[in-house]
Amino acid sequence: MNGLLESLWTHFDVTVAILLFGIGFTTLLLHQNLIKKIIGLNIMDTAVFLFLTTQGFITDRSAPILKEGAEAAAGYVNPIPSGLVLTGIVVSVSVTAVMLSLTIRLFRRYHTLEIDSMTLMMKGEGD
């Protein structure tokens, strides 16, 4: 148990990322309120970006913009995770926008934000 806790402390960055991922995942799955689900989705995605970004970091090296005189790979952090996170952020924003507009339409139609009430109302309507 001690060894596990120590190991989690050395890997504190990915531990925090996984905890946030879990919080976001649970919120997305279990909350009834649509706005809270969208917030959970954003927390989950941000946690994944945190996970990716911390993987690229190497201690005592600088950002991947070419500086005069330092050409070797040993002077810079890994640029790949940053590129992946860029893509991920855009995807996250797009998905949030679509979910929010669906929420607006659903609220106008059913006057509630609880997904269970909406499902009940929908089933009650027939077709």
């Binding site: 990915v14 905890l19 190497i58 995807v91």
Partner: protein, 332 residues
């Protein structure tokens, strides 16, 4: 008061084209449930009114609440809900603990000997500036080495913009007359948003040119310094949103309408697709690319990266602005 509202509504939906009364609309927005439950006359008077979405939804809501009220008190359903919730919570907890256990077996943080600091990263860093011409290695990577992913990402933005347009855009004119939905949206917007706020307008007059200029700088220098199309586009989009907030739709629609959005998005995406198709086709068929990369560090260098950054920046700017206006009013 209630009778007055009922009569006015009856008049209006019977074809009276007199403009909507602001008091009436605002009281409609707050009062209907009580109106429905206490005034049977109002309810009957409005039975034949099918146009108003508010009335229909409220009526249905009342029926459904009665149904839900009857249903949710059965103990069987409550038990099932409780079991499902417990199982779901346990599963999520289990997943988190399991992932935590796994994650401490991964390579440590910040270690230069990690498996992911390999020859791939080495080539991007060492030969990136001369092969792509971009001093910013991340820009070189996403717009030259792995350009297909960025193409997909821009498409995701486009899909999102189309979906939000699909859902929220109101049809503003039908047979030459403005639709009631459009009028209501305009009324809501004028009622709830600040109008001609002096402080906001003064700040916007100072800040919007600076923001747009800064965004333009970030886009143009994407291959030399940190930045690029995405960040620059978001900055410019924010500038446009500030302008809209300060000065209102009428002034903004002088230069940014739905058609502007369509043409800019179409132009940028087609340019991106065209440039990158040329690049992919020549690359796969082992033909030379014929585009010089210029001197690293100069503004006009890095092959296609500068035009691609501009395309991406324009798409992001238009999309951010479109999201805002569609969510606020339902029309650009």
């Amino acid at each position: 008061m209630k009778k007055k509202i009922v009569d006015r509504l009856r008049q209006r939906y019977a074809g009276d084209q007199s403009p909507l009364d602001e008091d009436m609309i605002s009281s409609l927005g707050e009062q209907p449930p009580e109106l429905m439950r206490t005034s049977d006359e109002a309810y009957e008077a409005l039975e034949h009114v099918h146009e108003s979405r508010v009335w229909e939804a409220v009526r249905q809501e009342r029926d459904m609440y009665q149904q839900i009220h009857k249903w949710s008190y059965s103990s069987g359903l409550r038990l099932i809900k409780r079991v499902y919730t417990t199982l779901a919570v346990l599963t999520c907890g289990g997943i988190i603990l399991f992932l935590l256990w796994t994650v401490n077996m991964l390579p440590p943080f910040g270690n230069p000997n990690n498996p992911d600091n390999n020859e791939v990263a080495a080539r991007y860093i060492e030969q990136g500036p001369e092969e792509t011409g971009a001093v910013n290695m991340v820009a070189g990577m996403i717009l030259d080495y792995r350009a297909f992913d960025t193409f997909g990402e821009t498409t995701v933005l486009f899909v999102a913009a189309c979906s939000v347009l699909f859902l929220l855009k109101l049809n503003d004119h039908k047979d030459g007359k403005p639709t009631s939905a459009w009028l209501e949206a305009e009324y809501d917007d004028r009622h709830h948003e600040p109008k001609n706020d002096q402080i906001l307008q003064f700040a916007a007059r100072l800040l919007v040119p600076i923001i747009l200029l800064f965004g333009f700088y970030v886009i143009m220098n994407g291959h030399i310094s940190p930045g690029g199309g995405f960040s620059g586009g978001a900055i410019m989009g924010a500038g446009l949103i500030l302008y809209l907030n300060a000065f209102g739709f009428q002034k903004t629609e002088r230069f940014f309408t739905y058609n502007t959005f369509r043409w800019i998005t179409f132009g940028s995406l087609i340019t991106y697709a065209g440039l990158k198709s040329y690049s992919f086709y020549t690359g796969a068929n082992h033909l030379g690319s014929g585009i010089s990369t210029g001197t690293p560090g100069a503004l006009l260098s890095a092959g296609f990266i500068l035009p691609l950054n501009i395309c991406v920046g324009l798409v992001v700017m238009c999309t951010m602005y479109t999201f805002y206006t569609l969510i606020r009013k339902g029309g650009i």
